[in-house]
């Protein structure tokens, strides 16, 4: 059983999604239970694998159907993927618990089908992370993408239109990726990542234009998928119109897993020398990343809709991650990997908090924040923690990712990126300050009349506390606490996971 954990982790949600399509007649409660059960199973498997990887200090290899690589499909769970897998399962489980009320609200008729897509998406993301095969990765990428189109299109208003746009962009991205894999396959005759990395080190291939084109296509495809500026235009529309549950599931995970894929391609399939000596785009990519960070945050600042605001923050965070990965030093790489985990939790926390506000107020503009500290004190408190993390206030995890990223930027002498990180942080501070200020002040007491009446300040206006239901509140509070937890245990995360995955040569 334990040996099969890597496979079970992916297979369980796949089967759950099949079963979920059939159990419509059993009612919504059964669907909810089954979803949680299956994802909890995945989480357990992911944790078992993580412990195994940390204890042995070696990657876990699992051969599907006992076919030997490079012919068969191989799952490779090393220090990098083990962390990301746990992140995916944890985020998905929290969202699943959170979804009890919101998913029902958004899908009154066919909840079981909705949950089937949910489980399928999780399976796809887990597969993308665990696989050691570049073509298999494409298949799983499409599985997760297709299920995400389905989920996103269930949203409100112009969700169909936005999702269609995403579908076009997503398909272009996936096609680029596939085309690139084709080039690489022609040149090497292999699809297995470990195998590829050995073959690609041959001098004649390092010089080869075809390999270079292959790499370019793959990276472009991945960039579209992760919405790197200026390829990000599809993301804000698609995500901000989605239902609350969908947004909580997709927003933190899809882009983060795409960044993980970028790291895999860069450092596992290709190698450090190839990326930074042969390709040598890092300057340009870092400028793009800086632009993404600053422009993303500034655009977020100009949004009135809460969820749209958050989606532009994702665009900015993708800039942080990309920049960190392309800095070509240990601190930058550590920052990027740590930020995958940190930003996953941060985004989840923000979307959950905003989702709770929308659930209670029915509004999604900034006006919904009015007096939040009185009406929903717990939600407002968690939102404050998440905001502190995005801005980078210690000891939340956001501070430590910024710490590593800035350190990497300084070491690499990339002052533009360092400045972009600082500026983005300050803009984020303004953005959240405006929201939380509204939440704190509520409706402003009229200072003039108050002075005239000589009444004591702000005599109690009775406001009823109206928190979201417990199934929403508990995951929210847990995520908020996790932001602190991850921050405080940064040392352990870096020591036991990230340090092991730092690629040789940087």
């Amino acid at each position: 059983m334990m040996d099969h954990a890597p496979a079970l982790m992916i297979v369980v949600p796949v089967f759950a999604s099949l079963v979920l399509t059939l159990i419509g007649p059993l009612g919504q409660r059964a669907a909810y239970g089954l979803l949680i059960l299956s994802i909890a199973g995945s989480l357990a498997a992911a944790l078992v694998t993580l412990v195994q990887v940390v204890q042995t200090g070696q990657a876990v290899y699992y051969r599907m159907g006992d076919w030997m690589p490079p012919m068969g499909i191989e799952l490779v769970i090393d220090h990098l993927s083990a962390g990301v897998l746990v992140l995916i399962c944890a985020c998905a489980l929290l969202t699943a618990i959170y979804s009890m009320h919101t998913a029902r609200q958004d899908n009154p008729d066919r909840l079981n089908h909705y949950y089937a897509l949910f489980a399928l998406l999780v399976a796809g993301l887990l597969g993308m992370t665990a696989t050691g095969d570049v073509f298999n990765l494409y298949v799983l990428l499409e599985i997760s993408a297709l299920s995400s189109y389905g989920l996103l299109a269930r949203g409100k208003g112009k969700a169909y239109y936005a999702t269609f746009r995403y579908l076009i962009m997503g398909t272009i991205g996936a096609s680029f990726y596939l085309l690139g894999v084709g080039y690489i396959y022609i040149m090497t005759g292999s699809l297995n990542m470990a195998d590829l990395s050995e073959i690609l080190r041959r001098p004649e291939l390092e010089e080869s234009v075809s390999v270079r084109i292959g790499f370019t296509l793959i990276i472009l495809g991945v960039w579209i998928k992760m919405a790197l500026f200026p390829l990000h235009a599809w993301l804000p529309n698609a995500y901000s119109r989605a239902g609350t549950t969908t947004a909580c599931l997709i927003a933190p995970l899809m882009t983060k897993v795409s960044v993980y894929v970028m790291l895999r391609i860069m450092f596992t399939v290709f190698c450090v020398d190839y990326i930074f000596q042969q390709i040598a785009w890092s300057r340009l990519v870092i400028y793009l990343a800086s632009a993404a960070a600053v422009l993303g945050m500034i655009t977020a600042l100009s949004q009135r809709d809460l969820r749209k605001m958050l989606t532009y923050i994702i665009v900015a965070e993708i800039g942080y991650l990309t920049g960190g990965a392309w800095l070509a030093n240990t601190a930058g790489y550590t920052g990027a990997v740590y930020h995958i985990l940190a930003d996953g939790l941060m985004t989840l926390c923000l979307f959950m908090a905003v989702g709770a506000v929308i659930y209670r107020t029915g509004q999604s503009t900034a006006a919904a924040m009015q007096g939040l500290f009185q009406r929903m004190p717990v939600t407002a408190g968690v939102l404050l923690v998440a905001a502190a993390s995005v801005v980078g206030v210690p000891p939340t995890c956001g501070f430590f990712s910024k710490w590593y990223l800035l350190q990497g930027a300084v070491k690499a002498g990339e002052w533009v990126f360092a400045a972009a990180l600082i500026i983005a942080g300050l803009v984020a501070a303004i953005l959240f300050f405006r929201l939380l200020e509204r939440a704190f002040f509520g409706r402003l007491a009229d200072a003039v009349t108050e002075k005239k009446s000589k009444k004591p300040h702000g005599t109690a206006r009775k406001i009823r506390i109206q928190e979201a239901p417990l199934t929403m509140l508990l995951p929210l509070v847990f995520t908020g606490a996790a932001l602190f937890g991850l921050g405080i245990y940064t040392n352990e995360v870096v020591q036991y996971l990230i340090r092991w995955s730092v690629p040789a040569g940087i």
Binding site: V393, V410, E437, H457, G458, G487
Partner: protein, 494 residues
């Protein structure tokens, strides 16, 4: 008296005393008396811990504790030395005094959201003690930010337009300075040497040898202006704005905790990160001295023009804070001693002044100095304390401020800086000009037109007057017995 192991936990207990009070205060929000008891209990526990540590440090020990190893290379770390103890003693003691006063003030005006107020108060004190005990820059930064955030609800307490404006400015300057300047400077420093722990003495610092002069200078000014709580111009603008807060907040936080944290961080970094040797070699001290001299004189001039009492006190604070930095920047032993001891002297005097302003407001609802003519005759205790604290600000014997002026002047003479002596003399004159009239008018001035003698104004309630008198008397005692605190200061620099 206690084992060494006890002293290892004492700093943590001092920190947790106020942190642990937070849930207790929150839970007893329906029972105001119980709630206030927790504040006192925490304040008492905290002060006794600091007191015990002070004795231990005086015996020549340094307590070092690693709280959490957050990064492989860096930890959240405490280090209790004489310099930290000076600040910890002042802030933890004044919390007790201020707590009593605050209760009188908040109940006297039946303010809203008192529970939130006391929670944030406790958090702010927790952060202040954290800063005092920090063993490296990262820990210092962590508690510095915690203080900024936890005091925001206090500044914005009234929740009206004025409060919003003041609080906005407050956070803009503090976060802008810390995220925009201190954080990058800290990371660059870490990249240079891989070390952020404060040095064990004030001479060597931790700047690795061979670092470019320009870079060191840039870092120095990033820290000087980045710790915006220190009120050095042009980063001072938040301070007058933050005076919209209830007076106990202004008193404890903006005369003692917040601004002193700013100054403490600045001087800590100057002495223990850069070190006297580096500052001397690159003339950083003298540059900083002239920058803060400008602040001293300009702030005093602005203070003269203010009619609102709290606003005048705010500008006086800006000016006085720069004395501390000036002393340290002069780098001669006497000047550094004068600078550090002014942390104590200014704290006692300024808290008295703000307490008086609050007591006047509670008793009369008056904020402007021009409306206070003749008030001294009906509120003799309050204005008596005010007069005493004013003397300390001016630097007249036998009040604490005199000690500061003495050491600063001696230090400036040693450094051979005639211009700085001129600044000190000029600022003393200016202090007289803007403090003396307040007391004079109160006792000898005419009652404003249209008011009869007998308006039924009386002293503020006893729970406010007693802390005022206590703070004033302490201010006097620091002048008569300067040795008590000076022994710690002499441990920093003999």
């Amino acid at each position: 008296m206690f084992s060494a192991a006890f002293y290892q936990t004492a700093p943590v207990m001092a920190l947790c005393a106020s942190l642990g009070a937070v849930p207790l205060i929150a839970l007893s929000r329906r029972h105001p008396n119980l709630r206030e008891f927790w504040t006192f209990a925490a304040a008492g526990l905290k002060f006794s811990m600091v007191l015990l540590l002070a004795g231990w440090v005086l015996a020549g020990n340094v307590v070092e504790v690693t709280l959490i190893q957050v990064l492989p290379e860096l930890a959240i770390r405490f280090k209790v030395d004489a310099f930290g103890i000076v600040f910890a003693l002042v802030s933890s003691f004044l919390w007790i005094v201020a707590a009593a006063y605050t209760i009188g003030y908040m109940r006297g005006l039946s303010e809203h959201a008192q529970t939130r107020f006391f929670i944030c108060f406790a958090l702010a004190l927790c952060a202040a003690i954290g800063v005092a005990f920090s063993g490296n820059l990262l820990t210092l930064y962590l508690f510095y930010e915690m203080l900024s955030l936890s005091t925001y609800p206090l500044v914005a307490h009234h929740q009206d337009k004025e409060g919003r404006g003041g609080a906005r400015k407050y956070l803009t300057f503090l976060l802008g300075g810390s995220v925009g300047l201190v954080l990058p400077a800290m990371i660059i420093l870490f990249t240079l040497g891989g070390n952020l722990a404060f040095a064990d003495n004030i001479h060597t610092g931790i700047i690795p040898a061979g670092t470019g002069d320009t870079l060191v200078t840039c870092l120095f000014f990033a820290f000087l202006f980045g710790f915006a709580k220190n009120g050095v111009m042009p980063m001072h603008a938040w301070l007058p704005g933050a005076m919209v807060a209830p007076t106990p907040v202004s008193a404890l936080l903006h005369a003692v905790a917040v601004v002193k944290v700013g100054v403490f961080c600045t001087t800590r970094v100057m002495l223990y990160v850069f070190g006297i040797n580096v500052m001397e070699a690159l003339n950083l001290g003298i540059m900083a001295a002239y920058i803060v001299s400008f602040t001293i004189v300009t702030a005093s001039i602005i203070a003269m023009t203010r009619d609102n009492l709290k606003s005048r006190l705010a500008y006086s604070t800006i000016s006085q804070l720069s004395y501390i930095i000036l002393g340290v920047a002069l780098l001669t032993p006497a000047a550094v001693q004068g600078g550090i001891i002014h942390i104590v002297n200014h704290a006692f005097a300024k808290i008295t002044l703000f307490f008086c302003a609050g007591a006047i407001y509670v008793a009369t609802r008056r904020k402007k100095i021009s409306e206070m003519g003749g008030l001294g005759r009906v509120m003799p205790f309050t204005f008596g304390a005010f007069a005493l604290a004013s003397l300390s600000m001016i630097g007249a014997p036998p009040v604490g401020g005199f000690i500061t002026k003495w050491y600063l002047l001696k230090g400036a003479l040693d450094a051979g800086q005639a211009a700085i002596i001129l600044v000190l003399v000029a600022s003393t004159m200016l202090n007289i000009v803007y403090f003396a009239p307040v007391t004079f008018q109160a006792f000898f001035g005419r009652v404003p037109d249209g008011e009869t003698r007998d308006t039924g104004i009386r002293e503020a309630p006893l729970i406010m007057v007693v802390p005022i008198m206590a703070a004033a008397v302490l201010s006097l005692l620091t002048g008569i017995f300067p040795g008590v605190m000076m022994q710690f200061v002499r441990m920093v620099i003999p």
